[in-house]
Amino acid sequence: MFGWLRWVIYIILIIGMIGSIVWGYQEQQDKNALLIKAENNYQRAFHDLTYRMDQLNEKISTVLAMNAPNNISPQMADVWKITSEAKADVAQLPLSLMPFSETKQLLNQVGDFAYDVSIRNLSDEPLNEQELEALSQLQDESNKIKRQLRTVQNQVLSDGIRWMDIEASMVTNETRDDNVLKGLKQVEEQVGQFNGLDQLSQPNMNQSITLDGDDINKSDVETIVRDYFELNDQAELTVTETGDGSDIPIYNASFETDEVHGYSEVTQKGGHVLSYLLNRELGEASISLNEGMNVAEELLADLDFEQIEMVESIQYDQVGVYEFVHVHDNIYYYPDEIRVKVALDEGDVIGLTAREFILNERNREQLSLEPELTEDEALGYIHDQLDEQLTRLAVIENEEGEEVLTYEVLGTIDGTTYRVFINANDGFEERVDRLKQSEEVYQ
């Protein structure tokens, strides 16, 4: 009796089924297309990387056979370019979850070395024995890396290994038995044993930081923090210690009151408050940047930071940020910096970081702080076009990470302000910065 109805239902079901099959097929196609696109990106990065390592090896061995300085400089510039491209390739591969840092570091070292050589005047200062030795070791090493990577590449090509699968296995941490990861791990181990370039780089001065004062314990920290922020007993306070990775042992104290969430760092030795942040809802700015500066200065005076001067102030909507540096005998010590953040709605300090100040100031060995050049002599070293506005003595860290005494010259060319640091002893132009403070709003 209802036979026709049954048929109608059948037909609808069949149409529905065909529809979902077609839909599913299309979805599948789309997904595959996307996967292939993503996979192709990985493949390109990987094949590029192997190609660059090949090139790197070739360039280095060519340099070894070269004699004319005019030839070496451009070759070394090329090496520098290749290493930075290879680094970019590595950064595009899904390798962040596996150790590959030795290889990246090697690329970096080679790049730095090549850069230094390429900008140096090789006619006056040709490659010395040590550098040639390093280069020939590097040639061996890059040859090994090249061969390993070429082998891996061959496996990728012949076995059709997909980087998407490798990525998936790394995310889920399942052990995969494939030769690509093994090969890359071998490269990493291989590079880890290589130290041919170490002799060229200056020893990394990891001077230990010493602080004065006694060790304090957790309950001392609680007292210090409650006292510092004038917290009452109801405020919840949690104190934790730092682990092995920290460069100095610190207690972290965080607390919660009705208005603010606070966080501060206190050294385990001496109980110095290195930094803190107070987070609360901010209202409209009602005081000026200048009044905010007075607030910041008052606080720093209260905390017994002496001989400091503000060198920079910036307003971000309802927040003013001030940078202070240590000033002694009219010399500005830029490494000793303190930053203070003032909320311009109620005019209270909501952040301070004196880490650099506390750690550097206490660890500075006495510098010879008598400039050999006079200010006028130093000004002779700056660019003709630079219209000098302000000059003062300043201590900065140079490229090698050493502190040097310089003349800081602030000046303008065509309305743009530049900061030039001229070494106060030999007139070397240590650094030139273009100062920019505001950016147009792009709409």
Partner: protein, 272 residues
């Protein structure tokens, strides 16, 4: 009838009053780094007498700083410090004129406008089609916000926006210092040779951030995330110099556990 007309005249005079008189600064002392209407006035007045050649953008940057100093020096003020207090303001008000409405209108509409000597009367394009353009400007200028903002050295607004997205996607619901620490990790990676040297390179590095891989990075960040990023770029680093962090509850990689740990903030462990 006459009375009524006078009344209208009086009212319209009243309405026009603020824009006709030479506008006086507000009470605040203006110093380098400040933003807002007082800075616009300061720049316009300095430009009026030829001490300032840059754009009038309402941000007291280096260009404005040197102009103020040169002005203070030329007008023999006691302290040549770039801080605009009452004396400098008085001196400026006496020496210059300021037509707020005109300056702001030009500012929002005309990129190359110069206020030297006041309104440019010889500028034909300015006087002739005035009626129509004025009405058009009216609508536009209400919609326009500031033309420029302060940015920390080395970062653009869009870098900050991108970082705020990453911080929001990775760390929403974390304590504030945990969010600052995430932003600090991104910044610490900038100087580390193991990582790309741009903000975008670091954030979009494959597998570097989970929230990038699953698309959460595309959410609009909240104000807290933006503040956290600003704190980090301004030098606060609650992570203690970390270049990695992970969530121990969901992390699957063994390698990540082998790194020396610095501290735990909220759900994340920060590492060298």
């Amino acid at each position: 009838m006459v009375k009524y007309k006078i009344g209208v005249l009086f009212v319209s005079l009243l309405l026009l009053w603020p824009s006709i008189t030479s506008h006086g600064f507000s009470e605040q002392i203006i110093q380098k780094g400040a933003t807002g209407d007082d800075v616009i006035e300061l720049q316009a007045r300095l430009q009026y007498i030829g001490y300032y050649e840059g754009a009038i953008d309402g941000v007291y940057g280096w260009g404005t700083y040197w102009s103020v100093r040169n002005f203070q020096e030329a007008f023999e003020l006691e302290s040549i410090d770039g801080i605009v207090g009452q004396k400098t303001k008085d001196m400026l008000i006496n020496a210059t004129e300021y037509d707020e409405q005109y300056v702001k209108q030009q500012m929002y509409q005309n990129e190359d406008f110069n206020y030297y000597g006041g309104r440019q009367s010889n500028d034909a394009s300015d006087s002739a089609p005035a009626p129509e353009s004025e009405t058009a400007n009216e609508e536009q200028s209400t919609a326009d916000g500031p033309q420029a903002v302060n940015v920390p050295e080395g970062f653009s607004q869009n870098d900050i926006q991108l970082m705020a997205r990453a911080v929001y996607a990775e760390g929403r619901g974390e304590p504030y210092n945990g969010q600052v620490a995430i932003a600090a990790v991104i910044i610490n990676r900038l100087d580390n040779p193991d990582f790309p040297d741009s903000i975008s390179g670091i954030i979009y590095e494959p597998l570097a951030f989970e929230a990038v891989a699953d698309g959460q990075i595309n959410m609009q960040p909240n104000e807290e995330a933006r503040q956290a990023v600003l704190d980090a770029v301004n030098g606060w680093d609650p992570s203690g110099g970390a270049i990695y962090y992970f969530n121990p509850d969901t992390a699957t990689s063994d390698w990540i556990w082998s790194r020396p740990q610095i501290k735990r903030i909220g759900k994340h462990i920060f590492m060298k």
